[in-house]
Symmetry: C2
Subunit: 190 residues, 2 copies
């Protein structure tokens, strides 16, 4: 997605060979117009599918997922992160390890909002090692829902998450796929 | 706002005389079309003001704030919650106590995204005791920004937050203002 890649080049901050900060339009400040374009691009990529529910995770997945939901007319559910969950019978839950923050969070979704009748599209802001997406896939599986695929705003293609998911047969669509952050420079695939 | 009040009556769950759960369209599952209408209604309420930045707090403020941002063409910044912040010179921060969860979080906004040149509209999902809004006002003050007002999706008018803010001269616009949750029934002002 050209507009997104331009924004990454213009405003992204390469903090190391593995860390790209896009706080000015996605992770802290949000550019609503770009989010709308991102939502429409996800809708185009999955236009062949019937989507009954968009599943994402707080907080940075919410804006792009909501714009996709507006475009296709589907509700969004965001999984909640907690350091540790009190047990509840009414939750689907899984564990997500963040390598950046070196912490493991429980994530959960109420059983009220995901069921075996749902065709789910998973949306997230970043895909690196794939931990968050794995957690969301587990939750969808617990619900017995069908996962149509995964839509990612920025994939770090030099890390293993995307490859592992695709090898498992999961359809992953990334709007920008980064080949390298070496020497302080963003290089994309394609 | 008629559509919102209807949705609250239809889908809100009154858990006690003070607790209203609207997880099916605002706090866990998100109804994107309703969020768009909410964004447009906020834009109408503040149409006489120039807004350069929308300030909200993760996670449930993000969807309505982003839809407002799309309507008026302004960026959104969401304050981040942390149990305890590592000190950083590049952050505005304050403390927010949640009576519902009985915990205090630090909230913060990067100095990169808020300045003395900004005309800020604060957006949040709920207003009860006003703790979150107070924290956001403090952050805006640290930045030297001008606060235009506060837009709230659901105000619990029977709690003291809204009154205290208005007494301080803060303009507060609530799209639904609840008079009472007694006897398991939602009653609105007006």
């Amino acid at each position: 997605m050209k507009l997104l890649k331009e924004q990454i080049i213009k405003e992204g901050k390469v903090l190391s060979d593995t860390v790209l900060k896009v706080d000015s339009f996605l992770n802290h400040q949000i550019d609503p117009l770009l989010m709308k374009e991102i939502g429409e691009e996800f809708a185009n990529r999955f236009t062949d599918e019937v989507i009954t529910k968009i599943l994402t995770i707080e907080s940075s997945g919410i804006a792009p997922a909501t714009m996709l939901g507006l475009t296709i007319g589907a509700p969004v559910v965001f999984a909640r992160k907690r350091k540790s969950l009190t047990l509840s019978e009414n939750l689907f839950s899984s564990k997500v390890h963040s390598f950046t923050k070196n912490e493991t969070n429980d994530i959960s979704v109420s059983k009220d909002f995901l069921s075996a009748n749902d065709n789910v599209l998973i949306i997230d802001d970043f895909l690196a090692n794939g931990e968050a997406v794995k957690g969301l896939l587990e939750i969808a599986e617990q619900a017995g829902a069908t996962v149509i695929g995964v839509g990612i705003v920025i994939e770090k293609g030099f890390q293993k998450g995307g490859q592992l998911l695709r090898e498992q047969g999961v359809r992953v669509e990334s709007l920008a796929n980064i080949k390298s952050l070496e020497n302080g420079k963003v290089e994309f695939y394609d």
